[in-house]
C-alpha cells in the first residue's frame, strides 16, 4: 500500500502551488490515474481525508479520472484504446504491442479553489 505516500505528495504539491496564489480554500482536486499507474482509487480516497486534515485542502473532494491504456499498433499505423490490462494487443488486428502511449499517468490535472476576492 503506497497510496498513502502518493496522497501525501498530492497534498504537498497542491498546498505548495496554492500558497503562491493566495488561495484560502481548495474545493476539489482532479487526479488523472492511468490503468498501469499501479494505484487503486479506493485506497487513494481512503487516505485523502486524513492527509488533508489541517491544510487548506481539508474537506475537499478528490476526483479521479481513470485513463485506459492506449497503445500504438504498427500494423494499423494507429492508436488504439485497450479495454483492460490483461492483454496488450491491438483490438482491431490482434497484433501485440509494447508501445504504450497512455496508461502510466499519475498526475494532478487541476484544482478547484476559492480565492479571496
Amino acid at each position: 500500500m503506497h497510496e498513502l505516500s502518493i496522497v501525501q505528495s498530492v497534498v504537498t504539491t497542491v498546498t505548495e502551488a496554492m500558497a503562491e496564489r493566495g488561495v484560502v480554500r481548495v474545493q476539489s482536486v482532479r487526479l488523472r490515474v492511468g490503468a498501469l499507474s499501479g494505484v487503486v482509487e479506493g485506497a487513494l480516497q481512503f487516505g485523502y481525508e486524513i492527509a488533508t486534515e489541517g491544510t487548506i485542502m481539508e474537506g475537499s473532494r478528490l476526483e479521479v479520472v481513470a485513463l485506459p491504456v492506449v497503445i500504438y499498433c504498427g500494423t494499423c499505423s494507429s492508436l488504439a484504446e485497450l479495454e483492460g490490462v490483461q492483454s496488450f494487443r491491438c483490438p482491431t488486428c490482434g497484433t501485440p504491442s509494447g508501445d504504450i502511449r497512455q496508461g502510466r499517468e499519475l498526475e494532478i490535472e487541476s484544482v478547484e479553489i476559492e480565492e479571496a476576492a
Partner: protein, 229 residues
C-alpha cells in the same frame, strides 16, 4: 467575498522521484554502470538469484555492486556480501518499496567508476515498486515456478513495466507441474517484447545464458557511452 475557479496544474505526483531517478540514470550512464532494478513477490528468490549472479560475475573478472532493500533486516545484504562484491542494505523501515532518493543516499561514498553493474534488490512486493523509477537501465521482474503461471495477469502494472522476466526455481518446475509455455504466453500477453530467462539459483541452470546476456548488455552500454560526447 470569495470566488471559485479552476486552476490547471498538470503536475506529476511522482515528479520529485522521477527527477531524482533521471539524475541517477545520467550518473550511471556517465560512469558506464549498468543499473538493474529487481522486483518480485516476497520469497521469489531475488537474493538467491543475485548471490549466484554476483559470485559468477566476479569469477570472470566483472565488477558488480548491489543495494538491497528490506523492511527491517539486513539478512539479504549479509548473504550477498559473501560474494565479495560491495553491498549495502537499505532499510525502508516499513516502506513497501524503494525510492530514488534512498538509492542516491546509499550510493554516497561509492565511486561508480569502480563498478560495471549495480543490482538493486527491491522490497518483495509486486504492486508498489512499479510506480517508482530508480534510474535503472533494466527492470527485472522475477516469478518463481511455485507462484503460479498467472502472476503476470494478476500484476500487469509491474510486469508491463519490466524489460526482463526471470522465472526462478526452475529446478522445482516438475514437482510444481509448472506450465512453462503458459507462463511465457502470459508474460508476453502483458509485455509483448519481454525477454525471458529460466533459472535455478540452486543448480545454476540458465545462468550461462543469463550471464552472457548481462555482459553483452554492459558492453553495449559502455560502448554507447564512449561514442557519445
Amino acid at each position: 467575498m470569495s470566488t471559485a475557479r479552476i486552476v490547471e496544474l498538470r503536475k506529476g505526483v511522482l515528479k520529485k522521484n522521477d527527477e531524482l531517478a533521471a539524475g541517477l540514470r545520467t550518473r550511471f550512464e556517465d560512469a558506464g554502470v549498468l543499473a538493474l532494478n529487481l522486483v518480485s513477490s516476497p520469497g521469489t528468490g531475488k537474493t538467491a538469484f543475485l548471490e549466484r549472479t554476483l559470485r559468477q560475475l566476479r569469477m570472470v573478472g566483472e565488477r558488480p555492486a548491489a543495494l538491497v532493500g528490506d523492511l527491517e533486516t539486513d539478512n539479504d545484504a549479509r548473504r550477498l556480501a559473501v560474494s565479495g562484491a560491495p553491498v549495502r542494505q537499505i532499510n525502508t523501515h516499513g516502506r513497501c518499496h524503494l525510492e530514488a532518493e534512498m538509492i542516491g543516499h546509499h550510493l554516497e561514498g561509492w565511486r561508480l567508476d569502480d563498478y560495471d553493474y549495480l543490482f538493486i534488490e527491491n522490497v518483495g512486493n509486486l504492486v508498489c515498486p512499479s510506480s517508482y523509477d530508480l534510474g535503472e537501465a533494466i527492470r527485472i521482474a522475477l516469478l518463481s515456478v511455485t507462484e503460479g503461471e498467472d502472476k503476470p495477469l494478476k500484476y500487469p502494472s509491474i510486469f508491463n513495466s519490466a524489460d526482463i522476466a526471470i522465472i526462478t526455481k526452475i529446478d522445482l518446475a516438475e514437482v510444481c507441474e509448472f506450465d512453462r509455455e503458459l507462463a511465457c504466453n502470459n508474460l508476453r500477453e502483458i509485455r509483448p517484447d519481454i525477454a525471458i530467462f529460466e533459472t535455478s539459483a540452486k543448480t545454476g541452470a540458465g545462468f550461462p545464458e543469463w550471464l552472457s546476456f548481462l555482459v553483452g548488455e554492459k558492453e553495449r552500454k559502455q560502448a554507447a557511452g564512449v561514442v557519445s560526447p
